[in-house]
Symmetry: C2
Subunit: 625 residues, 2 copies
């Protein structure tokens, strides 16, 4: 095999001399082969998703609520992964090994520390005078003993694709569709559960696993390592729970609490992960000794990251609102939708570049887009943006769950340790209890609308781990420690998604939690969007934070950022009215003057004024018969 | 610099021993830095697109039709690229070089010929007993003299992203929105222009450039090389022309001809490129001698690829139609849309795996989806799929044109040759003339509805080169020959898109081509979708091919694949009626029986029957007020 490989390499070099462009043909050929294998990989997942959709439809039709899409995708993924692991990967069969050590001449690393990012390889071919230089990009680290086994070198998940392509639409969609009222009303509780609760959970898991790790002889684990593991598996999954709660129309307060917490949770877990690494870098002795300076720095960084990201996301949301309010972009819905999408995506990228959390930024960008920009959009763009993100979200999240299932069997670097896995399941159950119940009790002291005990049980129960935990674990599987973390996280995600997800509906009825609040909820949601003129803050069961926010929102932000009433001319102090005029749109003025004639007609006018305009000229076909 | 680099590498190795997990931190850190640079790159393009959209809106508002979106995106790209080339790339500044040749121990190639796809590198670190093994993936080939210059090693365009992510939605959208009537009516002419015309164009460009290449001393060019170049630049661009024609509502026959040709064109160019490589491989002497066997094999492969891909795309389109007809998936619009998207994408992947042309497959899949599946979809999915692909298409194509502009200045391996560039411009003008006028004349002999001379002039003029030529050129830039092809193709694309694109509107009025057929066209389109009961073939100005197709379509395919009338029970021979019953849906039977009561009411009933059903339960918010 080695001989044949060397032979063909020599032949190709000879052809390169003989015909000038044969090397091009060889490069093209190689690319085409890689392309075919990639296509096969992708097709596998596309077929898995198709299968999931068809099964899902059958289940929905027969009213079998036990399995939801995430669970289905995971199970199908597991089956296909199992089949693949028997048949072997197509990739390994099409490649030959050449021990070509002696023809390598020049060898360069471009990196500061760790394995080099890029490699330059010069190869002196037998009959060519000039050496050929190729660039290579870092892919992964393998165990030395695995290096000769092509089957074990299957493609690892490209975490960059996850973070750039799959994740932003999911998180944005969650923010964009969040029932804002219940989010803002429970903002204090959600923040507490997410910020304090996730930190508690991380430390509890760290402590429990540190105890467990004493039982494991093969791999020495430091406290910082297990703390990192704690941060990874503290990210609870919004996807599955969201889908089930939405189908069943669960009580809005519980929905808001669970959804808000699990979303912010993801973000906090990411920030915690980097904070722990930050701490490991700052404390020079590797984190064995407790260092106050390093801890303070880490804490400072943690809070600036979280609040900086929130601010950035909110800022870009408001900027989009301003742009859509003061331009007539709404005449061209395709441009409007595209701008909306691009601005929202840019919040993710901006945050990542500034070293903040893109997830938090894009989540809050989504919330602000829904709150302000949405009301400025044309009717068509409203529908278009919602449906666009809904479709992207559905595809992305089912892809992730399929992948989760497949990789359980095909990923070559699994490291199973029974003690660690069992310990981890106990740890996450304990840690979630230490998060929910004490914080719930504390918050009930201050809240007028208490969080009932059965709601707290349900919150404890809904601690599924999903896509985010998987992504955090898969992003680095270089060492055995991280491989063990990865394997354990995969198992936790698969088992919680299938079992806890499947048992959510029975659990809701056992705990006697009200469901089916559909029509009321919907109406409220619509009125939330369509009536920017809602009454000023009067509810008394809101938290202090929620009340302050509501005041600011109604008096300054909505008048500034949307076409709603009242205008800034009314809400700003008298001496600033000229400033208010600048930021009041013509549409606001029209509504105001009509209102003066016949009070409380503003809403209908708002509705019709958008329709009076011409048909959007860029929409290809008028198929809204 | 080298010393510092080596130092940090040693330090990291020492830390790896001292604290066990520091190497993880290093890997994470490295990934995070790469992530930030990637984010910056992406953000650049997102901002470019935002800028394009805002400018486009300003232009549309002020009714300035001279610049269209592709031209704008290219121009902004050029400006940003120019600025970037002055400031230098952020990537090169953050990397250090280490000459680490002596610590590399093991070095393996996994490939048959040419540079290896994957590289395994074992590095023995100073204080660690076991060597670390890393895997690297092939990225590109660089000139040996450039190897030491980090600025020249900027990221090359990842052609895989282009082919998997950006291209399929663009082509599918074009097929899905094609005015099918004018496509099918002119099918013969379109096929002739695309298949024969593109081949003529390739050979004419090849011949002209072979003459030009005698003037170039630096690079020896074989005939096959310039033929390959001919294939690359024979792909005319549908994007820009489509946008302009659609805005101006150009005469439908011209629209159908230009659009159909430029779409199939792309596909034919891809197939020609691989056919030429195939020929180079098959003919052992490198293509200098004319070999009948190789040519026949190549021709055979060419035709099987084209017709195989058409068949595959059509098959998957019909399969989707069957699935949507006989399941009640339409009750869940999100599932329906997702399935539709995934099935369509799978046609691309299937074709690529089978070694056929994914572009042709996805184009015809789009045409068949629009023709059959579309009528089966729920009203909401009709809107949703159109808008989803419209948005994806807009984003993807503008991204490509921005990238085209930026890469003109930032791509490091440009190879300018004035003779070649000037020759290429002459060659494409001549070749397009040799394609359009003789074929137009020939076809007018057989056509009843002639193609007027000014239409032929317009077809000659609308030979813009765009995304596909760029993608074909960029997919291999390993050798100076290919680099020269790439540079020339970029210039051709930029100049034709800006100038020919900008002059389309004046040219239409100079040639006195009728525009503004908007309302009539639209109605016809709608009726095309909404009336599956259109009259049987009667038009006499259709080509033979079109008439045969229409008969098959009306009698068998539409009854089988859609809910339209007549049913298969009526159109199949008497003895096969039982078979017809199987493939007739309940909805078809209902319509039929109602029709028996009051003839010609079928359409309204079709319209309402879809609306009688329940609201789609998966749609998040009812915002269609």
């Amino acid at each position: 095999m080695v001989e044949f490989g060397r032979l063909s390499w020599v032949i190709s070099a000879w052809m390169g001399q003989a015909m000038g462009s044969a090397i091009d043909v060889a490069v093209d050929e190689r690319k085409r082969m890689a392309h075919q294998v990639d296509s096969l990989d992708l097709l596998l997942f596309v077929c898995l998703l198709i299968l999931t959709i068809v099964t899902l439809w059958t289940f929905k039709r027969r009213r079998m609520p036990y399995l939801h899409e995430s669970g289905l995708a995971v199970i199908y993924g597991l089956i296909v992964g199992l089949l693949l692991s028997f048949t072997g990967s197509p990739r390994s069969e099409s490649s030959l090994f050449i021990d070509n050590a002696h023809s390598a001449e020049l060898f360069k690393f471009t990196e500061m520390e760790g394995p080099p990012n890029q490699l330059l390889v010069s190869v002196l071919l037998p009959n060519v005078s000039q050496p050929k230089t190729y660039t290579y990009e870092f892919k992964s680290q393998v165990d030395s003993e695995d290096a000769n086994d092509p089957i074990k070198q299957k493609a690892t998940f490209n975490a960059e694709i996850f973070f750039y392509v799959l994740l932003p639409p999911i998180i944005f969609h969650a923010g964009y569709n969040m029932r804002k009222k219940h989010f803002f009303d429970n903002m204090g509780a959600i923040m507490a559960f997410a910020l304090v609760g996730t930190t508690i959970s991380t430390f509890v898991i760290g402590l429990v696993m540190y105890g467990v790790s004493r039982l494991i002889q093969e791999i020495p684990l430091k406290f910082l390592d297990v703390l990192y593991f704690g941060a990874i598996v503290s990210a609870t999954d919004p996807v599955t729970i969201l889908a089930i709660f939405q189908d069943l129309h669960v009580d809005p307060m519980l929905n808001g609490l669970v959804l808000g917490e699990s979303l912010l949770n993801d973000a906090v877990a990411i920030v915690l992960c980097s904070a722990i690494e930050e701490y490991a870098k700052v404390s020079l002795n590797g984190g064995d000794l407790f260092e106050v300076d390093a801890l303070l720095l880490t804490l400072f960084k943690f809070f600036t990251t979280v609040f900086g990201s929130i601010g950035l996301g909110a800022f870009i949301g408001c900027l989009t609102a301003i742009v859509t309010k003061f331009t007539q972009l709404r005449d061209y819905t395709l441009l409007e939708t595209s701008l909306f999408t691009l601005m929202s995506y840019s919040s993710y990228l901006f945050a990542e570049i500034c070293g903040m959390s893109g997830i938090v930024a894009v989540l809050f960008c989504g919330i602000f887009q829904a709150h302000y920009t949405f009301t400025n959009l044309s009717d068509e763009s409203k529908l278009r943006t919602r449906q666009f993100f809904e479709t992207l979200n559905f595809l992305a999240e089912n892809f992730i769950f399929s992948y989760l299932g497949v990789s359980m069997f095909t990923f070559s670097k699994h490291y199973f340790n029974l003690f660690f896995i069992l310990g981890a399941f106990v740890a996450i159950a304990v840690a979630r209890a230490c998060n929910i119940y004490p914080l719930g009790m504390l918050m009930n002291l201050g809240r007028q609308q208490k969080i009932p005990m059965q709601y707290q049980h349900m919150m404890w129960f809904s601690g599924l781990r999903g896509a985010m935990a998987f992504a955090l674990a898969v992003s680095n599987t270089a060492t055995p420690v991280r491989q063990m973390f990865f394997t354990t996280t995969c198992l936790i995600a698969i088992i919680t998604v299938i079992f806890l997800g499947g048992l959510t509906t029975p659990m809701l009825s056992i705990l006697q939690i009200p469901t089916g609040e559909s029509s009321e909820e919907r109406e409220e949601l619509i009125s939330d969007y369509e009536q920017p003129m809602a009454s000023l803050p009067s509810h008394t069961n809101r938290s202090y934070l929620a009340r302050r926010w509501k005041g600011l929102d109604q008096l300054y932000l909505k008048p500034l950022l949307t076409h709603g009433q009242p205008t800034l001319m009314e809400t700003l102090p008298k001496e600033l009215t000229f400033l208010g005029r600048w930021f009041t749109s013509d549409m606001q003025l029209q509504t105001q003057s009509r209102e003066a004639l016949g009070p409380r007609n503003g809403d209908e006018m708002m509705g019709t004024s958008a329709k009076d305009q011409d048909d959007p000229p860029l929409l290809g076909v008028a198929d809204q018969d």
